[in-house]
Amino acid sequence: MDWQDFLSVLPFIIVAGWATILLLVDLWIPANRKGITAGLAVLGLIAAIAAVISRFGIEREAFDGMIIVDGFSSFLQLLFLGVGLIAIAQAYDYLRRRDIERGEYYILLLYSLSGMLLMASAGDLIVVFLAVELLSIPLYVLAAFAIPQADSEESALKYFLLGAFASGFLVYGIALVYGSTGTTALSGMVAAIASAETTPVLLFIGSGMILVGLGFKVAAVPFHMWTPDVYQGAPTSVTSFMSVGAKAGGFAALLRIFISALPGAAVMWMPLTMWIAALTMAWGNIAAISQTNIKRMLAYSSIAHAGYIFMALPAAATPEVAPEAVRAALFYLVTYAITNLGAWGVVLAMEKAEGSGLTIEDYSGLGKKRPALALAMALFMLSLTGVPPTVGFMGKFYLFRAVIDANLIWLALVGVVTSLISAYYYLRVIVVMYMRDGEPEVRSEALLNSTIILTAFGTFFFGILPGLLIKMINQVGLLDLLR
């Protein structure tokens, strides 16, 4: 262990350490000026971004392989930190409006982000578990942030109970995998499986349980039951952050564990992940059709999108396709993050002080009242559907490419047919905004607006010129463990 090891986890140290310092500093910030805490939190994130960028392109293992620094981790860490910045900008005015502004909000957000950063560079199942908990526990608290509102409390309690249950699965799975391979280090597992010194049954059950635990985090069917209730009850700014950050965190672990540590066991997890992907796409999109509340609709939509990203796993079971499948998943995560944060931004702008204004009908007439906001929302909806020329189309195209390349044509077929189904409910939002009359009450807050403009621009820009993003992802290597 030397100073280089600490340098490897510098972004994590900055965010977690800064959160702890802020916890103290916040005591001296007067209650009506919590914007200062938000500003300080942003500074911490910018420092962490600088730390990630400064070592971009470096590949290294630290703490005896517990931490992996590679293109994959750096890329995801940048994504998480970007999501964090947008989440703070979206929360600031919203918390004041809902009268729940407290400095802890930003501190908990930083802690959760630190868990995600750790997840991206986890090289050991123990670190994965640590990261999952560090990511989740602050989110449980954040979900309850609108206390004493019953919705928020219910949301937090559900999330916590089911989350704890899922963590149980995860840790038991880790124990079984350890029992089978004799190690928790991802690189050790590759070697153990290659030398056939494993107990296949334990490995099968263990990796299946890890899949359950992480499947819960990313809201994949059949572990998705919590999602609509939690997304609906939690304060919307939390939901926005959770729907993107927690999901990307879960996928960081799934991709790392299954594709780079367990490719030797692909026969076991390939059919499982394939069915999870198909069911998740199908059920998420079908259930979204009947929703009248926009938060619930977007919750089911986020389930469906977990299904699309999940397709990268069965595709990656074919070794030649694996690198492109991982890249496609990363591209899709960025796509999803940009579009979804934008859509939640519009939901935040439409939500009224007392928490109403959340049914889809409330969007009637938005096209006339606030053309720019409606246009942005239309763009997000089209991108989530996957209609060109938005980034959502490019994301789906890239993913389907990997799936077809792996010869899973039926899975790609499920993907496109469910996209068609999804067009119905995404279009309904557009119908209501443009083709119904109404007098919606909309807020116009500078920070929130800037996040919407930024994400709308990204949705369009990367839809026309995806090459910039693809070039960056092409430099990302995940499969270092196979060296």
């Binding site: 053309p371 077809i404 068609l420 279009l427």
Partner: protein, 502 residues
């Protein structure tokens, strides 16, 4: 690589410049907005004439090619690749020609949210021209899907009473077809590591059994767009609910994207499958011709009648294309243009009377000729053109299609052409029936006695169409000259494949 854009890029993206100007104009200056949109589309039309002037009609291959790398995805090079040849040149001209006419027709018809209407209309033009010029399948798909969005808004916001239903049905139906095409496109891209149509054709070598599946996947998208029986049920809804200008573009250009797709992709990329499927496509086409004509005759609403007549007329186009011989394909392409002109004009005509009387029921009219002689005369010409009277454009297209289908080796039987010929007679029946209900007989309804004849602006929208109706009808040679060489090249390719099949 030089940074000056070629003429094709200008033709495609000029409307975007108009959109940018419109965005910054105040929304209550309606006439100013309309003038900007009309002038933009006129400029685009002018540029397309420059393209025509540069077009070498003796050359069968792609011309004025613009080819730049766009981005690379997992080893697949995706290009910004535009080009024009005999298969597409007339369709591009048709698009840029109909767009200003349609915009002028909205002068008094669209009074609400004019700015958005014009923006969507110009964006639609970008998509349509892009579809006809793209030579990279990925780029083609982007434009293809993109046209859905503005059309969806045009129907959904400015349409008739059931507009929302019609708009969603239009969007979902079309998307259902194109997602299958997307998978086929991906398969081609992965297998050949290229999306460029000429390169894919040159490589060839797709095994026969795979061709079947790829043919069907592409055909799903195109058959819905055309629409071919039995996938036509979105069309009456979309046509009837769309605002007049939307219907003109929908019938005039969007439907052609389907038949053009068969021509540009199915025939040259999957020639063996095309030959094998030709009798089946001909069968569906003939059913469409008869079915469309029969249902058109049963309509009480004029717009509905014109909508179903499109099903029938597009059946002729498909029949001609799948005759797979020069006569049939040339006739098919010319008939696409003819249908764009005549049916575009018919929708304009229906729109004019609807604006005056706010009804389209044929029973509400009668004897209109007495009060609207100019309108009546122009309608008569268009009606006769649509039913294929010799001397007008419809006859030339239908006649060569029937000749082509009659002697077609691929279709294999003259029966199809024989039944289709009956469709021509049925067209005469329902078109004349419509004309009689509207214009002849006694002028017995009081509301109709005070209707004003069409004004100068409306005459100006119809006259250019009528000029071409006569021109193509009397002297079609220049048009066939444009199409000819490219069609011959395509047929040569099909004949080579035909040797392989037999």
């Amino acid at each position: 690589m030089n940074l000056s854009f070629s003429i094709l890029s200008w033709v495609t993206f000029t409307p975007v410049l108009g959109v940018l100007v419109l965005l910054f104009l105040p929304k209550d200056r309606r006439n100013l907005l309309r003038w900007v949109a009309v002038l933009t589309s006129m400029v685009a039309f002018g540029l397309s004439l420059v393209m025509l002037a540069q077009f070498d009609q003796t050359n069968a291959s792609l011309q004025m090619v613009e080819r730049l790398p766009w981005f690379q995805l997992a080893g697949m090079q995706i290009e910004y690749f535009l080009g024009v040849d005999g298969l597409s040149v007339l369709l591009v001209l048709l698009t840029t020609f109909l767009t200003p006419i349609s915009i002028i027709s909205t002068w008094s018809a669209v009074e609400e949210r004019v700015k958005e209407f014009l923006i969507f209309f110009l964006l639609l033009e970008v998509g349509m021209v892009g579809v006809f010029l793209s030579q990279d399948i990925f780029l083609f798909y982007i434009f293809w899907e993109f046209t859905l969005v503005p059309m969806y808004f045009l129907i959904g916001i400015w349409g008739g009473p059931r507009r929302v239903y019609a708009a969603i049905k239009f969007f979902l139906y079309t998307m259902a077809g194109s997602i299958l095409m997307l998978l086929a496109i991906l398969w081609l891209g992965i297998t050949f590591e290229s999306f460029s149509v000429p390169d894919l054709i040159a490589q060839g070598g797709i095994p026969g059994s795979v061709q079947t599946w790829l043919f069907l996947a592409f055909a799903a998208a195109f058959a819905i767009k055309v629409p071919m029986w039995p996938l036509h049920s979105w069309l009456p809804d979309a046509h009837v609910e769309a605002p007049t200008a939307g219907s003109v573009i929908l019938a005039g250009v969007l439907l052609k994207m389907g038949t053009y797709g068969f021509l540009r992709f199915n025939l040259p990329l999957f020639p063996e499958a095309s030959i094998r499927f030709a009798p089946w496509m001909a069968l569906l086409a003939v059913i469409g011709i008869i079915y469309g004509a029969a249902v058109a005759y049963a309509q009480k609403d004029v717009k509905m009648l014109v909508a179903y007549s499109s099903v029938s007329h597009l059946g002729f186009v498909v029949l001609g294309l799948f005759a797979l011989n020069p006569l049939g394909i040339q006739g098919g392409i010319l008939q696409m243009i003819n249908h764009g002109l005549s049916t575009g004009a018919l929708f304009l005509i229906v729109g004019m009377i609807y604006e005056r009387r706010h009804t389209r029921e044929m029973d509400d009219f009668g004897g209109l000729w007495k009060v609207m002689p100019i309108y009546g005369a122009l309608t008569l010409i268009v009606t006769l053109s649509s039913m294929g009277l010799p001397g007008l454009n419809g006859f030339v297209g239908e006649f060569s299609i029937l000749l082509g289908a009659f002697g077609s080796e691929a279709i294999g039987s003259p029966i199809y052409a024989g039944i289709a010929a009956a469709g021509v007679i049925m067209a005469a029946i329902y078109m004349l029936y419509m004309f009689q209900k509207l214009f002849l007989g006694p002028l017995d309804k009081d509301e109709n006695k005070v209707v004003k004849d069409i004004n100068l602006r409306e005459i100006l929208t119809l006259v250019p169409l009528v000029v071409f109706i006569f021109w193509i009808g009397l002297y079609p040679k220049p048009f066939f000259n444009l199409i000819g060489p490219s069609v011959d090249k395509l047929v040569a390719l099909l004949q080579a494949a035909s040797v392989a099949v037999h």
